[in-house]
Symmetry: C2
Subunit: 223 residues, 2 copies
Amino acid sequence: MREIFNQELEQVGTDLHRMSLLVIDAIENASTALQTADLQLAENVIRADEQIDEIERSLDEQCISLLARQAPVATDLRVVIAALRMSATIERMGDLARHIALVARGRYPEVAPAPSMREVFTEMGAAATKVAHQVSRLLETRDLELAAGVERDDDTLDALHKHTFTILLDPAVEMTRQQMVDGVLLGRYFERFGDHGVSVARRTSYLVTGDLSNSVAPLPERS
Amino acid sequence: MREIFNQELEQVGTDLHRMSLLVIDAIENASTALQTADLQLAENVIRADEQIDEIERSLDEQCISLLARQAPVATDLRVVIAALRMSATIERMGDLARHIALVARGRYPEVAPAPSMREVFTEMGAAATKVAHQVSRLLETRDLELAAGVERDDDTLDALHKHTFTILLDPAVEMTRQQMVDGVLLGRYFERFGDHGVSVARRTSYLVTGDLSNSVAPLPERS
């Protein structure tokens, strides 16, 4: 019984990691597509999101089946519940990457961000990609250094997000109304991506350290 | 055993409903505060969100404890998992109402939306409030007519959200940059509020009808 549980839990872990690898590609490619107006790359991100959704559905069923057949308690139960939640969160990270790709596709053949915002979105893309890489490694290694790294990069994303508003509200910076609208949405997508990364990092930390305070509570969203 | 399970499940249902009542107040008051620049009302929404978060934490613990002690299977298991997810979703609806209140507070003593956007946000506020009312009644009565109503009001929110972009992108409509930024964010908050309402409605429908297709799958977000 215990051995089967462990095997099945390992499969859940493998699938979560597989999702996270797809999310790395998604956010990296979405960020590149945004800066280069690469329609093909944007389409790839949009299409690839279906795969992420599919793994989530399969993970849900695996977790529910595990709960039904093995009736885990204590830590084992919390691990399964955490996996269920992490899969929803990682799926959402994929959605946000797809949203960024949709903006890139929507403005093609133009580059979506206003010239004055390209740098901040390049930096947000880099920080978000770093978040995704660290989340993925964290799921694989449980190395809590990586969880701290995710928190730091999320702070970077928050600071960059604030900076987008400084640019957007500066009357000296010229941009079209479409560029303003896109600038607000893109900033929000990248910022939320970071928040979700932190959520996964905190849940993983909790599973490693057993410290409940950061994991079961909803992640307070920075406003 | 069975009786205890049913009693505890009833408590979970009561708490979910209690959360949904707080969310009705939150979205209704946030929408009013937005239109009337009512600082006090906005502050109330922001403060009241803590209560919602607290019920979510308590619900999480109740559900996990239920799973550990009762090891439910089949439908019972799915009901507990659905409750766990609905509590996270309803908590998120509270967050979005708080975000709207934060915009209202941030622009005080001005009315945040540009004059040309006040009507669309009044309508979005009314539709979102209707979603919250129906979600709450649905949790209480399991009347699937209400689930269909939530879907319809979410369609209304999506249409109104599209309309915000028509106004925002119209060069003939004068607004400040701050009003543009706020207009984009507010539209997104209301639209996401509706999406989460649909998510709760679908999960409840599933619990009533047993039709899995709409409930376990992640809600595809309209873009």
